[in-house]
């Protein structure tokens, strides 16, 4: 900001201060002045009506008394603190990221923050949906079933747990073989995999149909799974042999995976409350999520999940592999040829007819899946536009430097392509955020549907305008915040001049 230092030379009155601004922007010519006055008169008349109505007539208690329902809907009142904790977590992470990112000199905390953000979906899901955890007693007892009574697993239809555990340990063991150099680490990881394998021995002697109804001892599918995962793990491990600190990363993955394997193996119910997994956090199924909670979780999930799918589809559509290309084109064109509302109807009304009886997929998850696929198809086309904007010389130059196709795409092409299409991507996100209100038509209670429902109580009957104004304000605040964020991002990446 410039300040007038000398009293003898004053800046021209017309260019500074409120009056100057008014003169420059609103009254620069007689036609501009006329338009300004006309607009002011219009604003006055409409604004007066609005103000008089909202002060004198409006029944704002319809909104204020129902703020709780509008926000968390049917979420159990005793568990609402979990939503509070989630909100605090998000805000905390946001503030930390903001502070760290604006400080250029502090680069070290970035991986930590990134890891934190990657953990967020899991943490939030556990917090909001709840979780069942096996107690120590359950773990011991359930592991006992693998050793003493593997037939129970078959009766309970829980044999997938064995295969899941084998998959994870197989992948890790394969990778470890390539990455760990020290003998002790190698032996320890082998012991880990062997323990899991040993645990499966009694189960593997039993027979169960697994493919085309073929009945063989479980050992065959299990060994196939394990062997395949071992090979995949080895291949993955080999591709990372040049990475610095790879042993530490793998060690950390082992540390995280062991409890996961234990939980995967042991969280099944047998029907004895003393040894069954208990709800550490009460399960609140997505089915009953409603209000702002539903609107936000629907939009956040569809935005976060559709982006990578959209990018993959865009790359797939430009791929030279005919199957990948064909699939991408088919998917994109099919989904784009259908309105979102019919996708939602398909997911809610038609899908259950095709599923076997007794299989019920959560209604909110069905809506989420529909919205993700829909957004992904549109994003794919936007990203493809960005890909086409990257000049071929860039690719050739990158290849000339000796980068492989994966690196050419991820380091050279995609960053430039995505940077070019930030505005339409954000536009798509804002649009899917507002489109979440369509789920009301398939019986899910988003913020708008909850609003329409609460004004059916006797004391709020007819408070339609108040509720719609509230909903409108809610959508506006979030959409505006999203477009502001997009503009800042563009400015930071130098797409447009910073304002």
């Amino acid at each position: 900001m410039e300040r007038a230092e000398s009293s003898s030379i004053k800046p021209p009155v017309t260019s500074l201060g409120v009056l100057g601004w008014l003169r420059a922007n609103l009254f620069s010519s007689w036609i501009n002045s006329l338009l300004t006055i006309l607009t002011l008169i219009l604003i006055y008349f409409f604004g007066r009506v609005l103000v008089i109505w909202s002060v004198r007539e409006a029944n704002w208690s319809a909104v204020t008394n129902n703020l709780g329902v509008l926000t968390w809907g049917r979420y159990p009142n005793t568990e609402v603190w979990r939503l509070g904790v989630s909100l605090i977590l998000i805000v905390l992470m946001g503030v930390l990221t903001w502070v760290q990112w604006s400080r250029q000199e502090n680069q070290r905390s970035r991986p930590v923050l990134l890891a934190g953000w990657l953990m967020m979906p899991f943490v939030l899901t556990i917090l909001i949906r709840g979780i069942t955890m096996p107690t120590f007693r359950t773990i011991i007892n359930n592991i006992g079933y693998y050793i003493v009574h593997p037939d129970v697993l078959i009766a309970l239809d829980q044999t997938w747990r064995a295969n899941a555990a084998l998959t994870l340990t197989g992948l890790l063991a394969g990778a470890s073989w390539m990455i760990f150099q020290k003998r002790r680490s190698r032996i320890l990881t082998n012991v880990g995999a062997l323990v899991v394998l040993a645990l499966m021995v009694p189960l593997s002697t039993l027979s169960q149909p697994w493919i085309f109804g073929l009945r063989t001892p479980m050992a065959i599918p299990m060994l196939l799974t394990f062997g395949l995962c071992l090979l995949i793990g080895r291949a993955v491990g080999r591709s990372f042999t040049n990475m610095v600190g790879r042993a530490h990363v793998l060690g950390a993955i082992w540390m995280i995976s062991l409890p996961i394997v234990v939980i995967v193996l042991t969280t099944f119910e047998v029907g004895n409350e003393a040894v069954d997994p208990v709800e550490a956090l009460m399960i609140v199924p997505p089915n009953i999520w409603s209000g702002i909670l539903l609107t936000l979780s629907l939009s956040v999930v569809s935005i976060a999940a559709s982006f990578p799918i959209g990018v993959l589809l865009a790359l797939g559509r430009r791929s030279s592999l005919p199957v990948v290309k064909g699939f991408s084109i088919l998917f994109i064109e099919l989904v784009r040829g259908v309105p979102l509302i019919s996708i939602l109807f398909m997911a809610q009304v038609m899908l259950p007819l095709f599923l076997p009886l007794g299989v019920n997929i959560d209604r909110v998850l069905r809506a989420m899946a529909g919205m993700i696929l829909f957004t992904a198809a549109y994003l794919a086309e936007i990203v493809r536009g960005g890909l086409q904007a990257v000049r071929n010389e860039q690719v050739e130059a990158a290849r000339a430097l000796g980068l492989n196709e994966f690196l050419v795409t991820s380091l050279v092409v995609l960053p430039q392509a995505l940077r070019a299409v930030i505005p339409p991507i954000m536009g798509q996100f804002v649009s899917i955020f507002k489109d979440t209100s369509l789920v009301a038509i398939v019986g899910l209670l988003d913020v708008l549907a909850v609003g329409q429902s609460v004004i059916k109580a006797r004391e709020y009957l007819g408070a339609v305008r108040e509720i719609y104004l509230f909903a409108g304000l809610f959508y506006f605040v979030f959409s505006y915040a999203m477009s502001q964020a997009s503009r800042r991002l563009e400015a930071r990446l130098g797409v447009v001049e910073s304002e």
């Binding site: 011991i140 050793i147 009574h149 062991l258 029907g271 259950p352 019986g443 209670l445 429902s453 006797r458």
Partner: protein, 375 residues
Amino acid sequence: MRKLFALTGILIVAGLVLAACAPVEPEVVTVVETKEVTVIETQEVQVKVPVSFVMESARLEAVKSNGKVRCGVNSGVPGFGFLNEAGEFTGFDTDFCRALAVAIFNDPTAVEFRPLTAAERFTALQTNEVDVLIRNTTWTFSRDVELGTDFGPTTFYDGQGMMVRKDSGFTSLSDMGGATVCVLSGTTTELNLADAFSARGLTYDPLVFDKSDETAVAYDEGRCDGLTSDKSQLAGLRTTMTNPADHQILAETMSKEPLGPVWAHGDQQWGDLVSWVVNGIIIAEEKGITSSNVAEIAAGTPEDPEVARLLGLEGSFGELLGLAPDFMVNVIAAVGNYGEIYDRHLGPEGTDIPREGSFNALWKDGGLLYPPPWR
């Protein structure tokens, strides 16, 4: 790192040792054996049996093992079903869901409410997403026969009516020749209106809207002379008018809309249960049993044998339905009799739909509520 690996190694070995000796034989083995049988049974019932026979007396078992009655409801009809300030479903329809939960579990909260739209409500029944549908559903031939659903006793006799201004001079539909009528588009309401006017040889001017709120606002602003909808809805809409006392609902009924509980074809036992819980609630009003005096009556020896049978003091009616003998005592204590439910949601305290002299009065008072005897 090395230490960590050593530690995990020790943990794994320790876990294995513990696991190997831990399953205390008697406990685990008993658990295993009792469970094995039941699990296999329910799974076969759920997966292998063809659709039309799945519900054969298995519905109640499924509900019991689920721990909850899954009830399809409406989320936006004044007096019948909406969310209150605490985020719970309330209304006339939802109270019947609670009555079922009390009958089965003696717990009014053992209901899983599924808000359903008109379009998906029957699919939800067919695909086993809800156990019962209590959602302003009119009993018609095609729904009963063609859609594979069964209807229980009517809980509310609705019908299409017409609201007019008191000062308009209209006292019956026959006066309304040439009038403008606000109506919801694409519903049977629109067709019934056309039928009613053409049957009287009159013309009218329809003003069509998409949302019932919009029709009410348009009527209130004087854009039309009459507003037509189901009478239950009209009563709710009347309270939203600038001056509710200026409007009246004409006595004529343009259509029959018996509303009641609906379930999927094929499980008569489940249907019996739903029907008789509803019948019991109506009989309770007939006999003057209310939520406040039911405990007292059940504790004594009622003189009326039907009361004794209803409250489970005589006979084994509860057992025949697969319920506790005194299930009606719990139901009445928790949600009240028909009159109490009606007053709570549709009476002067609620949306104010006059009951006296309407079809929804008891048969003794000239209405249509005529429950079969509990014998």
